[in-house]
């Protein structure tokens, strides 16, 4: 018995040693040893942008060798995965949040005093002035106060299989009729293996990229009208009819009701889908994540009437906010140096060149950058006909009954009549909106673009 026990002990100790031999496996935060001249402060930054991690690491390294060294600043940049927003909330609740972090709930944090306005930081006003055009309520700005400087914009276009089009002699569609015909042709030639058009309906955030925004170049507004300040779901009716026609033609990739966006892109990369409405981040996906096996192209989204065209929609992204603990720890100056770095023209030009992010300031930044290597990228970065949208007030209203994402699914799966459903949505949403306005929760002026018509006009 004793012999057995000793034997087991030996085996377990070997196992224990072997398992611990590998050492720590956590991803090392990008830090370099900054030669301390005076006190070196560590500024902690959190983000969930995995696609441009390399570029940020590069920029931070350069910083450590120059300004960081001089001013005693060390940046600790951590990239989280899918659990980012939960981890962030937990850290904030525990008072352990980082100094700077990418945020989607800016309004919430501002209301509870967890973050500081940019104007209260040294040099902040200058940054605000530089990006004056892009401060929108509920997007980096809250209650008229700027909490985050907008960095990048995500744009949209139609992505199509160039090789397939060439093989079948199809021209790039410009109007909705062209789109229908092209999709029919592809499906017919595909013999059940290749389908003309793909649309994913599984998750709620697809509603922007696949319904609301592709309709915008044709009808001039999204589901919320930034001119009138009211919800206008009925303007989307023609687009729904187009989708339902595509479905009736049989041109839609089967199973779209529960199709995942990743699966759609994987199938496109395999050559099984002719075209779909994609976004700028798809460039990275179709090169790195699901490498396309053929030559693929980018084209403007087809419109209902080619003679009446509006700009396409761009949505601002990547908002870094500064935590209020920075004031308590008196680190304002140092954090601002880092903030300036993240919005610096140099850094933005780098991410642009590598085909990762589109700078919201457009030409101002890109004229300092080199040529992007991925040839589909410039189509997405040309902001000439992109309308960078204001926010929608949906985050401030409470709606009863099905919300519009569920209704969109119901319409597309044939469970609801488009006309009636959209009219009902308008009624319910505008009632809720009015209630919030009356209750003082929403300042509708901040969601209205006074120059809307001018701004959304298509520039030839």
């Amino acid at each position: 018995m004793k012999g057995n026990r000793i034997f087991l002990m030996v085996v377990c100790s070997i196992l224990a040693l072997a398992l611990n031999a590998g050492g720590k496996q956590e991803p090392a935060p990008s830090t370099d040893k900054a030669v301390a001249s005076g006190k070196t402060e560590v500024i902690r930054i959190w983000s969930n942008d995995a696609h441009n991690r390399d570029e940020y690491t590069e920029t931070i390294k350069k910083f450590h060798e120059t300004i960081g060294k001089d001013k005693g600043i060390k940046i600790e940049y951590t990239v989280y995965g899918g659990d980012y927003y939960n981890s962030l909330d937990v850290a904030i609740a525990a008072g352990e949040e980082p100094h700077m972090f990418k945020s989607m709930k800016t309004g919430q944090y501002a209301q509870t005093g967890k973050i500081v306005p940019i104007s209260e930081l040294p040099g902040g006003n200058k940054l605000i002035e530089e990006t004056k055009k892009y401060h929108f309520e509920d997007i980096g700005m809250f209650g008229g106060v700027v909490y985050a400087i907008p960095i990048r914009v995500t744009t949209q276009n139609m992505i199509y299989n160039k090789e397939l089009f060439a093989r079948l002699g199809i021209e790039v569609p410009v109007s909705w009729n062209d789109l229908r015909e092209a999709a029919k042709k592809i499906t017919r030639a595909g013999g059940g293996k290749i389908f003309g058009f793909g649309i994913p309906m599984k998750y709620t955030n697809y509603k922007y990229y696949h319904v609301a925004w592709p309709a915008a170049p044709s009808v001039g507004t999204q589901f919320f009208n930034h001119k009138t300040g009211k919800f206008d779901f009925q303007s989307l009716e023609p687009f729904f009819n187009l989708m339902l026609q595509l479905k009736a033609d049989g041109s839609l990739f089967p199973g779209f009701e529960t199709l995942d966006y990743d699966t759609l892109r994987a199938q496109f990369a395999e050559g099984n889908i002719g075209m779909y409405f994609g976004a700028s981040f798809d460039v990275g996906v179709l090169y790195d994540q699901f490498p396309a096996k053929f030559d693929w192209g980018v084209a403007p989204i087809p419109v209902m009437d080619p003679n009446r065209r509006y700009k396409q929609i761009g949505t601002p992204g990547a908002f870094y906010v500064v935590s209020s603990r920075v004031k308590k720890e008196k680190l304002e100056e140092k954090v601002m140096e880092v903030y300036k770095l993240f919005v610096s023209i140099e850094h933005l030009a780098l991410t642009y060149e590598r085909g990762k992010d589109i700078p919201i300031r457009g030409e101002e930044v890109t004229k300092h950058a080199g040529e992007p290597k991925r040839k589909q990228w410039p189509m997405f970065t040309d902001l000439k006909n992109v309308y960078v949208r204001l926010a929608y007030p949906e985050s401030k209203i409470t709606v009863e009954g099905d919300n519009y994402t569920d209704m969109f699914s119901k319409i597309l799966t044939g469970m609801a009549d488009p006309k009636k459903a959209l009219a009902d949505l308008d009624k319910r949403y505008n009632t809720a909106l009015q209630k919030s306005i009356d209750g003082g929760k929403v300042n509708i002026k901040l969601y209205i673009d006074p120059n809307y018509d001018e701004n959304v006009k298509y520039i030839k």
Binding site: N48, T204, Y208, G255, T258, S395, G401, T405, K410
Partner: protein, 335 residues
Amino acid sequence: MAAPGSGTQDAGQGLRGRILLEGTIHVKRKTTKYSSYTLNNSIQEILMILPMFIGFLLFTAYPIFWALRWAFFEYDGFSTPIFIGVENFIRAFSRDPTFWFTLYNAFLLALAKLVTEMPIAIVLAVLVNNKVKGSSFFRIIFFLPTVFSIAVIGLIFSILFSAYNGIINELLVYFGIVEKNINWFGERWLAMFVVLLVSVWSTFGMVMIYFLMGLQNIPRELYECAQLDGASGIKQFFHITLPMLSPVIQVVFMISMIGTMKMTDLILVMTNGQPGGGTEVVMTYIFKYFFQYGDATVTPSQFGYASSLAIITAIFLSIITFIFLKISTRMKEMY
């Protein structure tokens, strides 16, 4: 005068003897000794239950208290909660037909799963109960599906049942059973069927084990007697096996019913309630009012309303359990 009994073993006899001679004092002493013995026991019992009880308080009772509280408020997770009394409940009963639909969906699923899974599990348990060679091999095989996480199972089955190129469709077409691919997730009843199938697949092994354990408790002699009397295998099954298994059946029935009504993960992974809300069940519906996932959605959560829905669901489940207990006790008495 004899000394009072020394050990508790003596307690009974000593007591009887002394009570007649010595009177109350000895009884009192015996009682004291007895109660100090039980007091020691009680302290030990309480201490042993304490960890679990603390856990229960912290992780079950406390959250339930908060849910009960939020049900009477309007709260979006970060602004100040507004007390609105029974407004949430009025809304649930009068203006939210979708909630009742999802409750009905969940109930249908639970019922269908019971009707499908229990017979399969019982039959397999009987067959695998050393009736043939290699029973233990089969036991392991049937238990394997329970090992995998629901996320993996959901993903893989979505791929297998894919309307575009799923293996299931390919097989059906190849054998000429259907002409072209079935869009499994495109219609409500087809999608519910697939969810049912996957759900049964992932748990029938576990249920079979429960029944196996129940079978072990049936005395062999019953079967031997029946055989002597000339009863066939099938007669034996219905007249011995099933009745003797009824306590196990009762427990499994209840656990399975409640568990399936609370199912969220499988639906979320496979269909997310699509097509068009057709496979939405009560727990995924409530979940969506509590949590908005993804960063593109900024609609505010409705904690208060979600809590009230959760309370209503809990009451509903309790009623079902109660009805079921009443029925099964009566059935037990019949046997």
